[in-house]
């Protein structure tokens, strides 16, 4: 009876705990460079982006329709992913070697890691180098030892601060351009019960944004960040740790909405739209939409107020959102052809028309853009700074940047404690991910 009980217990416990951890053992399909197939071809594309580039869905439908005219035998099915589900859904698909043919990836590490893990085929194996040379940020974020993992799709000026002149002027303030001015605005506005900066960090993502736009002001290049990742520098060194102190200053000066920890990223931005906050941070592709909601005459679009003396202080960052081809896709050459097709002039112009944001292709004619806000944003990304969040391990982002930013903004952790914690999480990651140092070192070369 006892034995039977234990056996039953084992089975039940297995049922409870293991179902989500099964792995499939299929062998990856080696990409072939066969001629374009003439029989029916179905591609599945998992994507994200409507959240920050509204209109992307319409563009995708148009582009697939146009591609269907060119290749009637190719059907492309699209699945829009959630922000929180994008990475885990692909990880599950990769474990099963089954799922999309075309997959959306954020830039930098989010494109590198699946390449290192053998989950995607390099697009440079299918798209000629002279074509890829036009794709903005491909060589800075997606390249690895001569290969380009994923193809940039659209550019994300990262991340603009939008300031409402009408709200600030009501309290006798002008738009703060320096850190000192920002903290002064926070003091004045918080005394009046007005939020200076609107933010939502419950879902964590905003922590990564803040790291990138405040932290970039003290580093000399993305190589500094990679050096801290591989252990040649430390995240407690002043150039990496100072931003935490700046973040703590924003908390102690009452810059943020008090409910920052119970709001999600996109929820909080609405406080700015409704006039309850003077400033907020928005996704680059979505910036023109935010400006339009309030009225261009009332808004200033700017980088995070300047505090550092680094090369990127007072500059926006630049990153591209990308599309990759999965290793198990039966038709990688068709997937690559679709990517190339999406970079043709008609599609680039249609992207701008549908979303108001910039396609990640230097052949897009910025001179033709009339809106001064958009034009300034688009021009800035061509010489933007590195988007730091894309150069650290994704787990460091979630386990150290997201979490510490939440605690610092709640006032339960100091900047120095946050920096120390980030360093200790990094040291631990170098132990748990045995290939991390090797991969990051190779990437930095």
């Amino acid at each position: 009876m006892k034995r039977r009980g234990i056996a039953g217990a084992i089975i039940c416990a297995s049922a409870i705990l293991i179902t989500s951890l099964t792995s499939a053992g299929a062998t990856a399909v080696t990409p072939s460079k066969a001629t374009f197939p003439t029989g029916p071809v179905k591609l599945v594309m998992w994507w994200w982006g409507e959240q920050e580039a509204p209109g992307a869905k319409l563009w995708l439908a148009d582009t697939i329709k146009a591609y269907k005219v060119k290749h009637p035998n190719v059907t492309i099915q699209t699945v829009l992913q959630t922000t929180d589900g994008l990475v885990p859904a692909f990880a599950a698909a990769a474990a099963a070697k089954k799922g999309p043919d075309l997959q959306y990836f954020w830039g930098g590490i989010y494109a590198q890691q699946p390449g290192w893990d053998g989950q995607i085929a390099a697009v440079s194996d299918y798209i000629p180098a002279k074509e890829l040379a036009h794709y903005i940020n491909a060589s800075t974020e997606e390249s690895f030892q001569g290969k380009i993992w994923t193809a940039p799709w659209y550019v994300n000026p990262s991340f603009p601060v939008v300031a409402r002149k009408d709200v600030l002027s009501k309290y006798g303030l002008s738009v703060p351009m320096t850190w000192k001015e920002l903290l002064n605005a926070c003091d004045v506005l918080s005394a009046k019960g007005v939020t200076t900066l609107a933010g939502g960090i419950k879902d964590g993502w905003f922590g990564g944004w803040l790291y990138s736009i405040i932290g970039a002001q003290s580093v000399t290049s993305s190589k500094d960040v990679v050096a801290a990742v591989v252990g040649k520098q430390k995240f407690t060194d002043p150039i990496h740790a100072a931003w935490w102190t700046r973040l703590q200053e924003t908390q102690s000066h009452g810059c943020w909405n008090k409910d920052i920890n119970s709001l999600q990223l996109y929820q909080a931005q609405q406080l700015w739209v409704s006039g309850k906050a003077a400033m907020t941070v928005v996704a680059g592709p979505d910036t023109p939409n935010f400006v339009a909601k309030v009225g261009a005459s009332k808004v200033v679009v700017m980088p995070m107020p300047k505090w550092g003396t680094g090369a990127f202080a007072g500059k926006l960052g630049t990153t591209s959102q990308t599309i990759g081809i999965t290793k198990w896709s039966k038709y990688p050459q068709v997937a690559a052809d679709f990517i190339t097709f999406s970079h043709q002039t008609a599609q680039l112009n249609n992207w701008f028309a549908k979303t108001g944001s910039m396609p990640a292709d230097d052949r897009f004619n910025i001179a033709g853009v009339k809106d001064p806000v958009k034009k300034a944003l688009f021009t800035s990304v061509l010489s933007g700074g590195p988007y730091l969040e894309n150069f650290i391990p994704a787990q460091l982002d979630t386990d150290a940047v997201f979490t510490n930013a939440q605690l610092v903004l709640k006032g339960t952790r100091t900047g120095a404690q946050a920096a120390a914690n980030m360093q200790s999480v990094m040291e631990r990651l170098r132990m748990t991910d045995r290939n991390l140092v090797k991969n990051f070192t190779a990437w930095a070369k």
Binding site: C12, A91, T412, R428
Partner: protein, 310 residues
């Protein structure tokens, strides 16, 4: 006491019609159990073996106990386990509330069905719905706090899910609200089936409400209470993932304030691309859950041997 004893007797007693027939009878249940048994073994047995294998490997290479060492020494895993342990403290609260509600419903003459439904309804609601609703309701400027402020109870308007010192307690309260209905119905069902003679006799002897239920009712509910307690302990150790995932956007935050072992496993496997560490953590969680499941089976076997009929 005697249905189990009678069954045992049938299985072992000599059959007057011959030994061969007796042997055939002793194999009686197995052909019926076998198909389902094979199915379970295939689905979960395979997964279990695969999980164990993964937990001892890194990218296909044997690493011995290295994954376990890394998991056990991970401060985040330690925090997650600590939070699961803290959630176990909600079990006595759940049991006490379920018992109280069951007795109150038992004593209610009018509208019992309505109250039964009202108590049981939260248990029927999908956890993601509960998570989303409470996530909105419990924002710092959410409906609950707006109501509290309107009543002048400003100091009670806390950052329920946004304050790291508060979040796990809030989460526990939501879990209790959701889970208490199951226990109430379970206990009530048993309560209704109890023989009424003892209660009537106690009433005639002048026993009051509390004495009656404390001395007569509760002892007779011992096995069903134990069953519920073990079931909820298993929930707290290995079934709270949905609550945490939905209410914290999969972060276990603020900071690591609501990190639990299941979320740690999920994030390791699907977010951090470390399936080996996830496997090692899952094996550890499996072992800890086993203790509760063995307890669960013991309670079940005791109930089969007559404890429910005490």
């Amino acid at each position: 006491m005697t249905s189990a004893a009678t069954t045992a007797y049938h299985a072992t007693a000599p059959d007057p019609s011959g030994a061969a027939r007796g042997r055939r009878r002793s194999f009686g249940p197995w052909p019926w159990i076998l198909p389902a048994g094979i199915g379970i073994l295939f689905v979960f047995g395979y997964s279990l073996v695969d999980l164990l294998q993964q937990s001892f490997k890194y990218r296909g290479t044997w690493v011995g106990l290295d994954n376990f060492r890394l998991v056990v020494t991970d401060p985040l895993f330690q925090t997650a386990i600590f939070h699961n342990a803290l959630l176990l403290f909600t079990v006595p609260i759940l049991v006490a509330l379920a018992l109280l509600f069951a007795i109150l419903l038992f004593e209610t003459r009018r509208g019992m069905r309505f109250y039964q439904s009202a108590v049981f309804l939260p248990y029927l609601l999908p956890i993601p719905v509960v998570g989303v609703v409470f996530g909105q309701l419990l924002q710092l400027n959410g409906a609950l706090n707006l109501g509290l402020r309107a009543l002048g109870l400003q100091s009670f308007a806390l950052d329920w899910l946004g304050d790291p010192n508060q979040a796990l307690v809030t989460m526990s309260a939501i879990i209790i609200w959701k889970e208490v209905g199951f226990g109430t119905i379970l206990i009530l069902a048993r309560l209704i089936s109890l023989p009424t003679e003892l209660l009537e006799a106690a009433q005639i002897d002048g026993a009051g409400f509390f004495k009656k239920h404390l001395k007569i009712t509760t002892p007779q509910l011992r096995s069903v209470i134990l069953f519920y307690a073990i079931n909820e302990a298993i929930v707290m150790v290995s079934w709270v993932f949905n609550y945490v995932y939905v209410m914290t956007n999969g972060q276990g935050g603020p900071g690591d304030a609501t990190m639990v072992s299941e979320l740690y496993i999920y994030r390791s496997a699907f977010q951090n691309q470390a399936p080996e560490l996830a496997a090692a953590a899952a094996v550890l969680l499996l072992i800890s859950t086993l203790f509760f499941i063995i307890g669960f089976f013991k309670v079940q076997s005791r109930s089969q041997s007559g404890i429910f009929d005490e």
